[in-house]
Symmetry: C2
Subunit: 349 residues, 2 copies
């Protein structure tokens, strides 16, 4: 494990950029003192902000961008017109070998499109996927695709399973990650054709993973498996449904403790325990959409996060680079291609 | 509003049948003293159980079934081989006019298939959908389809929107329900073709509803609209993801209060408020999957619910029958057909 030297940051992406990007980099710098940053954005604004953080300033290079991609830009538009944007130049830094990874809190569609175009997908990978780590009853699970691909075929889903398992093992640190395909029931006959086909391929065991078959929506929070694979439409909606429910519970809880003086006192007594709980489920701790399958480390931060959340997204990028995640995916796909060449044609995807 | 006289109950469906069905009917009987029941199941077991509830016994007719459909039976198998099953005979009671509605905690797929075959879909409705009421920040929302149709076209989604809006208005009691289509983003360009097409039809305003366009997964718990429409695959996974997250939070909360003697004391002080919260989000209160679009009132109870939950499912059936829900759907579809006949061809579905 070699800690990467440089991470490029899209300093102008997100609701509160560049402030939270710089403040987040400062937190990340304390956690990973050997990492330096390329901050891409408005040089005047960045210079002012960096004055507050002299140690970060000494470990950062500022690169000037001319534009910023907005939340409303369509991916194709961002690709064509955003060549001098902070997002594009930060991704270019990875392509040029100046940085080991990039983090952006900007437009997700634009980030995926630019990353795919500039960095290309890994050899053998048909489509990249967006993955996140979620808190579960048992610990943490990896969930993908979260919206990169509205429609997926069986091959996409199988590749997502392979990438998700490698991410869980090498980045999250789960030794033998179990993998499941999200469906409306756990029987093999349920769901779309693509799902049933992917299920068959994964059951056939060509990929060395602990494949457990179909899992259901409630298994996400239960942590029944370590990696849950689905298409980007379902994944995006399920993830947001979970986030919304978590917020609903937090709001209900706050209102509950405010109901009476006695319940307020109860809150004060239970506060240390409640703070530990809040920390356990803090969405900022899980902030980071990993763009798996592109030739480069690309992490999407939530657009509305704060410095603490942005620092966690940087942490994911540092870990992916440090563990050579992309090399491992590449090696696995190559190994599988060789095995597959020896298999009868029917077993091929 | 005329309270229905008779509700048929599949007394052998669900994890703890017939016990919780009979105990649930007893609770429902107290809430709706004018309702009688047809209990379909094993007559010996039912006779023994009814001895405990003399008032319910005096308001119940027992019908003997020969078999029960298991949770693992496939719908086609249940249809062919289950003609003397408790589920089938309970649905037959609705078709024969003996009961105003039916409630079953049995196999969902079998229930939908038998209900469609025996009762038929309402004239003009292409496919029935499964709907539920969910707690939200703002109150309650109606969510459908929850799994009846793994794949849906634009016409299905539009009809679900119409039925969901009528359910929200006449059964839940929301005067001018707002309606949204679940998607991965709120812009009109997002999502599948079927979704975009349904969005156009609903925006065109042929149906008198407060249509708000696309909504996202987090809008489910936020209650941004009163009715959220999606296909059965996405709906099933989103619903279960929400249920799983709610359970995760409850478990985390219990563990939190057990952390120390002081936090236990805090719990004791806040208990009345916490109990009110538990009641607010109690899944048993929302137990009931309404099978909208069949010619008859059919409600699916969760298989693992208790008597309190089953009584709530009965309550939904009573309300749907009392408010003439199916007549309202039928009238709305007829009205629309007439309007549509006057429209240029291009505007048709």
């Amino acid at each position: 494990m070699v800690t990467p030297k440089v991470i490029a940051l899209d300093a102008m992406g997100g609701d509160r950029a560049p402030e939270i990007v710089v403040a987040g980099a400062n937190i990340a710098r304390d956690r990973h003192p050997e990492v330096c940053f390329i901050l891409v954005g408005d040089p005047t604004k960045l210079a002012t902000l960096l004055k507050r953080f002299p140690r970060l300033a000494s470990a950062s290079e500022v690169r000037a961008s001319e534009t910023a991609i907005s939340a409303h830009d369509r991916p194709a538009q961002a690709l064509r017109q955003g060549r001098r944007s902070s997002m594009r130049l930060a991704i270019d830094a990875v392509r040029n070998g100046d940085a080991a990874g990039v983090v952006s809190a900007g437009n997700t569609g634009a980030l995926m499109a630019i990353a795919k175009t500039v960095l290309k997908t890994l050899p053998g990978i048909k489509r990249p996927a967006l993955a996140a780590v979620l808190p579960t009853v048992r610990g943490e699970s990896v969930f993908l695709d979260l919206g990169a691909n509205v429609e997926c075929d069986a091959e996409n889903l199988v590749q997502f399973a392979v990438m998700g398992a490698l991410f869980a093992r090498h980045v999250v640190g789960i030794r033998e990650p179990s993998v499941g395909l999200l469906n409306v029931g756990s029987e093999d006959v349920k769901g779309h054709d693509e799902l049933r086909q992917a299920n068959e391929i994964l059951h056939a065991g060509e990929f060395p993973m602990d494949y457990r078959g179909f899992v259901e929506g409630n298994d996400l929070a239960a942590g029944r498996v370590d990696v849950i694979v689905t298409d980007g439409f379902t994944g995006n909606i399920a993830l947001k449904a979970i986030e919304g429910t978590a917020r609903l519970y937090s709001e209900f809880m706050r209102a509950t403790f405010r109901r009476s003086i006695v319940s307020k006192l109860g809150y004060l007594l239970a506060r240390p325990a409640l703070n530990a709980l809040r920390n356990r489920v803090d969405p900022r701790r899980y902030n980071g959409g990993m763009c798996l399958g592109v030739s480069g480390v690309v992490v999407k931060s939530h657009g509305a996060t704060d410095a603490f959340g942005f620092a966690n997204a940087i942490g994911f990028a540092v870990d992916m680079a440090a563990h050579g995640f992309n090399d491992r995916v590449h090696a696995e796909i190559e190994r599988w291609k060789e095995t597959r060449a020896e298999l009868p044609k029917a077993a091929a995807l």
